[in-house]
Amino acid sequence: MSRGGSTLLPVLVVTLAIILLWYAGAAALNLAWERSVAQRAGTSPSLIAMLGNTMNQERPVLPAPHQVLHEIAETTIHKKITSKRSLVYHAGITLSSSLLGFALGTLLGILLAVAIVYNQALNKSLLPWIIASQTIPILAIAPMIIVVLNAVGVQGLLPKAFISMYLSFFPVAVGMVKGLNSPESSYLDLMRTYNASRIQTFFKLRLPTSLPYLFTSMKVAVAISLVGAIVAELPTGAVAGLGARLLAGSYYGQTVQIWSALVVASVLAALLVVLIGWLGDWVNRRMGLLRE
């Protein structure tokens, strides 16, 4: 609790600063529209009046924080979850595919790391491809993957999860390779003196020592798997999901809708990262790797 107390204040200060900057930005960016409205109407309202109006435009360049909050409240608390206009519904759809992709990506990352650590040939042949896979712009390859999967009859959750997996396996693979190679040399020598098999050394030594590395990379992976799911919803004209809300918002110039989807997406990502962090701390403490 002492740790929470010492970080709460700095976080609050930064949050407050961001909100103030946001308001200032909204006023500055939306003022031009107020000026042109006044010009067309032939009136000359005071600057204060115009600034007041910048806070409540229908289609602002940059919506003010309270507009975004109001929109989020409208589309979460005041809508039924089953409604097509409920952000909870859309977030749920994006979340389910990103979590599926994250699980698959973590599994794939661990398997690749094991293959790389235990096989010198795979180390040389796989690693360049793994790195190359991440240099391809995801925006370019996402529609291709979805079209190809669609052609072979894979639809729904899986194509989007596949994009999430494509992004999230990478940090897990890299972190696990490092983690599996992290035991001290005396720990490994000890296994040698016991004439332990490779499988025994894996389960009794390499896997436990790699767990802190695994959870650190899973935090990165869960955040980008959410990004992957949203990106996967954009090019396909998906009708549901946070990506679809972003897309629909930009079609109709609904900036408030776009920003509220953005805020919900980042809050969701932050929650997922914190959740994985807690899970990691819990496991590490149970393993005796984190002292308390």
Binding site: E184, S186, Y187, D189, L190, M191, R192, T193, Y194, N195, A196, Q200, K204, L205, P208, M287, G288, L289, R291
Partner: protein
């Protein structure tokens, strides 16, 4: 002396480490026989190859020339047969396992289960006076207790041969004295053959029945001293004339082997 009394037999053994700026001769022409039940110390400065020689016996390093037999078989065969227990300089306890879990580790690897593991863990923790600490984690124990736990772990496979690489090197002198006493009692109780690496002259004299003095660059054996101290001894023996004479002979050997050159 019959062949059966020989635990380790080393003849003209050399070991070269390849390195980018030429090969490094770590051990040169080592000849050494270690008898069953002996407590043999390797003493010398850093770089004299004492740890390397111990690692060759344990098959953690391979000799590049000469022959070495452990229990009449190659070090590798001896390792595969789990013929020795090895104690490292750092306790090397796995932090995610309790003390009992650490001592049980070699037994699990041997395929033992249930009661067989429990009884052996209990017996060996008792041997190092750590009964009651089964469920503690390594970080909850002092450095000396950790090293005792690692000795219990080495003894758990019930080897006849115990290889110890500066096990008390990182501990303070008071703890070290105490552990030295306990180690001698353990040796008297279990009749194991112990090979012990150290760079402390009093420790070598106090513990050993034979002392191998080594010199650096390249690592060679300079002198082998058979101790005439009685097997049953306590710390007060360090004030006796016989003890001081042995310590003097080791120091003279280290000096003659240029162990004190370039140091400090």
């Amino acid at each position: 002396m019959t062949v059966a009394d020989t635990v380790i037999d080393i003849e003209r053994l050399s070991l070269t480490f390849p390195s980018s700026d030429g090969d490094v001769l770590a051990l040169q022409d080592i000849d050494l026989t270690i008898r069953r039940g002996d407590f043999v110390s390797f003493i010398g400065p850093s770089g004299c190859g004492k740890t390397t020689l111990l690692r060759v016996i344990a098959d953690l390093e391979r000799a590049t020339a000469g022959t070495i037999l452990v229990n009449g078989i190659t070090p590798k065969q001896a390792r595969l047969a789990r013929a020795y227990g090895y104690v490292f300089q750092a306790a090397a306890l796995y932090p995610w396992r309790t003390i009992a879990g650490n001592v049980a580790l070699p037994l699990e690897i041997m395929g033992l289960k249930g009661e067989a593991v429990r009884s052996r863990v209990g017996k060996n923790l008792e041997l190092v006076n750590l009964a009651g600490f089964e469920n503690k984690y390594p970080w909850q124990l002092s450095g000396g207790m950790q090293q005792r736990a690692s000795i219990a772990r080495a003894l758990a496979v019930e080897p006849d041969l115990l290889l110890m690489d500066e096990p008390f090197g990182a501990l303070d002198e008071i703890v070290r004295d105490h552990l030295n006493e306990q180690l001698l009692q353990l040796w008297a109780k279990t009749h194991k053959t112990v090979v012990f690496v150290t760079h402390s002259i009093p420790e070598a004299v106090y513990l050993s029945s034979r002392i191998v003095v080594m010199s650096p660059r390249p690592g060679r054996i300079h002198d082998i001293i058979d101790s005439d101290l009685p097997r049953e001894r306590d710390l007060s023996i360090r004030e006796t004339q016989a003890f001081l004479q042995l310590a003097h002979r080791i120091r003279a050997g280290l000096r003659a082997g240029h162990s004190y050159d370039e140091l400090a």
